[in-house]
Point group: C2
Chain length 151, copies 2
Amino acid sequence: MADTRWLNDEEQRTWRAFISAIQLLTDQLDRELQRDAGMPHAYYEILVRLSEAPNHALRMSDLAERSLSSRSRLSHAVAKLEELGWVQRQDCPEDRRGSYAILTDKGFAVLEKAAHGHVEGVRTHLFDQLSHQQVRELREISEAVVNHLTD
Amino acid sequence: MADTRWLNDEEQRTWRAFISAIQLLTDQLDRELQRDAGMPHAYYEILVRLSEAPNHALRMSDLAERSLSSRSRLSHAVAKLEELGWVQRQDCPEDRRGSYAILTDKGFAVLEKAAHGHVEGVRTHLFDQLSHQQVRELREISEAVVNHLTD
């Protein structure tokens, strides 16, 4: 414990600013999605991943990986999305224990409608605040963290 | 709707990388805090804010502002922290409707113990992955977002 590598002042300020930015931004986008489309950001992400997949369908295990969600959190969200009629579950013919999540036409329509406002929010609250240079830097910083944590 | 300012490829890639980084990083730090100190990151933040305040005490409204938490989310968390004996609530003598949250000695000891591992996690998973230049850039980017969303 004696050799804990404490943060210096610059790192401390960066960390505080970063977690504040994350929290304010995700709360804002969550509120907007909830207000305009009746769903939290996590649901939106699931619908996006399904909309990008062939036949709008993904195995639950692949969907968990692509939406960076734990299996239990994903199961809970997909159950809610099923109730809403936006997603259907179907057993995998080739794997008795597996199942697919499939985006319904209703779910696709909801996603299309939600996307306009959400993208506008992402632009207003993030990209409009950054220079081109900062956008590139943010990508490089984010990719460094992602590469480290998915290695 | 026709004039939605969709993201270009670079912005799209940046956004994907950014939300992946946020999710992977916060999940990782949450898991580590849960494993090593038996609390999620939100609780840790509340204990830190209280530890920095004079007499380790803050009005609930100030605590909500400093921890960027909604009042309802904060009330819920503070109730849990009270159960754990890490925080006490006390009525404000000067404001009948207000109350203070106070960090207990036990809560302070828990925080001190948790801080070592948590700071090590922040360093390992974020700062060790970035150059000095990137740390400065991340602070500037984060501050731009915070300033926009708290204006």
